[in-house]
């Protein structure tokens, strides 16, 4: 090992040693734990209250909406439209069957007619 690299190795150790001395862990002040516990409990309590308020507000608003006649129009229209569509499908199906029966009748009549 050359003299220069020996000095380098030595100074590496020195700097790391100095850093270990200079950057030691620092003890937090005792009041910090108490302060954190107070803040945490205040914040969690606020979160719990907010959640429960939110749940209550939601059910109240839902009930109000159900009682309001203005909100009945949409369901009535939806039921009406659904009924009309079902009726239309039924009519179409009956017509289709009617046409099939008519075709079958003509065929059987043609079979019975002798040349």
């Amino acid at each position: 090992m050359s003299e220069a690299s020996e000095r380098l190795t030595g100074s590496t150790w020195d700097v790391e040693h100095l850093l270990s001395d200079a950057l030691r862990p620092i003890e937090p002040p005792e009041r910090l734990s108490g302060r954190f516990e107070d803040t945490l409990s205040a914040v969690t309590q606020a979160a719990v209250e907010e959640l429960s308020d939110w749940a209550e507000e939601l059910s109240e608003s839902e009930l109000r909406a159900l009682r309001d006649p203005r909100n009945w129009v949409r369901p009535v229209v939806a039921v009406g439209a659904g009924g009309a569509a079902a009726g239309a499908l039924l009519v179409l199906e009956l017509r289709r069957r009617g046409r099939q029966q008519a075709k079958g009748g003509l065929r059987s009549l043609a079979g019975r007619v002798k040349p």
């Binding site: 270990s20 200079a22 620092i26 003890e27 002040p29 734990s33 907010e50």
Partner: protein
């Protein structure tokens, strides 16, 4: 610093929340000194260090359940330090300022060393702390994590969001730069 928004674990069922709170208390006791030390060396004064530490643990509490599930048993210290690191960066950005008190003036040396021990070597300690200020943020932070918190390369890599190799190089270069600056003086 702000951040006192809803705390996620409040929505858990009482038994799960009690278990989570116990685990979090263990984490808090185990790493309070680490987070505070990091915060102190980062912001350079006790008042802001306390704020930063408190906000770090509040933030950690919000995401603790998920962090535990995703950690696969790995230590959570790098995660905590990473939270502190991000909060400190936001702190400076929001206030558009650097530490009000530099590391050099923070003088943890005087509070940690007895007066007899200070006499010899104090100047060298001051010099090395003064030179830390000349390092880039990532180099300085890596050295704080290594020497003040005793984190290994892997932990530092996780805290800084770098690879193990890149972290090793970062620390090596930081020490080399300090050596050169010390040698120049």
């Amino acid at each position: 610093m702000s951040g006192q928004e809803n705390v996620e674990p409040a929505s858990l069922d009482p038994q799960a929340k009690a278990e989570l709170d116990r685990a979090f208390e263990d984490l808090y006791r185990a790493h309070l000194r680490d987070v505070y030390s990091y915060a102190y060396y980062r912001v350079g004064n006790q008042h802001d260090a306390e704020d930063l530490t408190e906000q770090t643990f509040l933030q950690a509490y919000r995401h603790f359940d998920r962090a535990r599930r995703e950690s696969d048993g790995r230590p959570l210290r790098p995660w905590l330090i990473r939270i502190a690191h991000n909060l400190a960066s936001n702190f400076y950005r929001d206030r558009s300022r650097r530490p009000q008190t530099s590391l050099e003036n923070a003088d943890p040396i005087a509070t940690r060393h007895g007066t007899e021990a200070i006499a010899e070597g104090r100047e060298e300690l001051r010099q090395v702390i003064a030179n830390l200020e000349h390092l880039s943020d990532d180099r300085r932070e890596a050295l704080i994590m290594r020497f003040a918190l005793g984190m290994d390369n892997r932990e530092i890599a996780r805290a800084l969001g770098r690879s193990d190799g890149a972290t090793k190089v970062l620390i090596h270069r930081a020490i080399k730069q300090l050596q050169e600056e010390m040698a120049d003086e």
